[in-house]
Amino acid sequence: MRLENMQKEFPKMPEELHEMIEKEVAEQLKTPYVHGKKKNRYRKVLIAAAACMTLGCCVAAASGQPAFRKWLSLLGINQKAAEELIDIEPEAIYEEKQPLLLIREVYLDGTKFIFRAEAGAGAGFIPLESKDHALINGTDCLVEYFRENPEGSGYYEGCIVVPEKLEGETLRVEMKLYTKSGIRDFKFEVEISDDHLSASRDIATHKILLESGFAEVQELKLAPSSQKLKLYYEFFGTDAERLCKLYGRGFYKIRDSHGNTLDSLYGMMVEVADRSSDGQGNWSGMVTLQMKNFDISSDEMIIIPYEPEYDSEGKVIPDSETVQEELAFSISLQ
């Protein structure tokens, strides 16, 4: 008698239990999901044999779909590019013998390092929190978020803004986490590939001539997880103030080379610097846009300013805008 033969020695599953499981599964499949639904113990509902046959044809459970799917779905058109950068079950190396977290999945592009981890043996039962800064390869970086998700699950997600220039074959992350017994270090290393390093691209600073002035692309970074555009404007002559106001307010339709259009009013972070005059009739302004859904494979980024209308409370009335197609300009992304 050997433990390896335990299958033979273990009690057989009673037939009634098989039936109960099949009934319960069939019942659950025909019951619409209601949050917090109470169970129906030993329901008397009989199922059609066909239900089980249908189940037998279902797709296998382990489809390998990334755990980042909720986050990915927010990336819209760049979802596929981001999916390819997810490393499932990375070979993480931990400094501590009993790490607070066990890294399960990582994502890295040129702007963000996102990880999903499971509470390790050293984590205890109190939800962990992180300091808002971490070190990546020795450089101080902002922890955009770190949270247990879902609450009480023991699974954590973290997002760290990566340094401008990332080099090497490994990413060394040093975090400080608040635990029941005080602040503890959590340090780990994961491998990074050329795909990760080349996932984002920077468009060189350049000027684009406009009517009575110019726009200068001071920063344009395109990554699957986010796209950042920093524009500086300068206008001259009699119409300078009007044009600076129009371009410098940050209301844009942003179109890619495939015809998809985003609106800066929705889902973007827009920072507008005060417009200023040099006293000689020249006006300048600065706008920074952080977006998520601009197609990073696009050949160009077309910026179309618009003038919105406001209600009596000063709020922008959606879809009330006058789009200034004739004042559009294109930023080449090639």
């Binding site: 335990m6 599953m13 209601v34 113990r41 382990a62 489809s63």
Partner: protein, 157 residues
């Protein structure tokens, strides 16, 4: 993972679910309760599953939690020392010596043994399921083998 896929997973995992419940609870009525509760919880919490690759591990964890909850409820009704199954209870069914000896092991240890020897999980996976370290799993297996050897002289473990 959608509901149909979860249903399929449960149907293909029912033997595993029974083995785990039976290891932890012994009594078939309790096993049925824990498994049924787990199925309901799995369907209502399907949105919390973030990675389909871990669907079975997730399902097993739900079941283990249910078994613990049931044991806690029973324990609060009948105060006993530990949660090991009593000898008299073990003799109530015609079970093999090996299974009965297994049931006399401490609960975490017998779950480790079942996952390893019955279900073929690797040490690393068991550590994940039982939320412990790989070395703890190895230790449990080692101690379990020693104890079973003591209990059953004719068992080659």
């Amino acid at each position: 993972m959608n509901k149909e896929q979860l249903g399929s997973l449960i149907l293909t995992s029912q033997e595993t679910m029974y083995h785990i419940a039976k290891t932890m609870l012994y009594d078939d009525t309790d096993c049925a309760d824990a498994i049924q509760e787990s199925i309901v919880k799995a369907f209502s919490g399907i949105h919390t599953l973030r990675n389909d690759r871990y669907a079975k591990t997730w399902l097993i964890r739900i079941l283990i939690n249910e078994c613990y909850a049931l044991l806690r409820r029973k324990k609060s009704l009948i105060p006993t020392e530990g949660i090991e199954v009593e000898q008299s209870e073990l003799k109530s069914e015609d079970y093999s010596d090996l299974y009965e000896a297994l049931c006399r092991l401490p609960e975490e240890m017998r779950l480790t043994v079942t996952l390893y020897y019955m279900e073929g999980y690797r040490v690393k996976e068991i550590a994940l399921i039982q939320k412990t370290t790989e070395s703890a799993v190895k230790n449990r297996l080692l101690r379990a083998r020693k104890r079973l050897r003591r209990e059953l002289e004719d068992v080659e473990v």
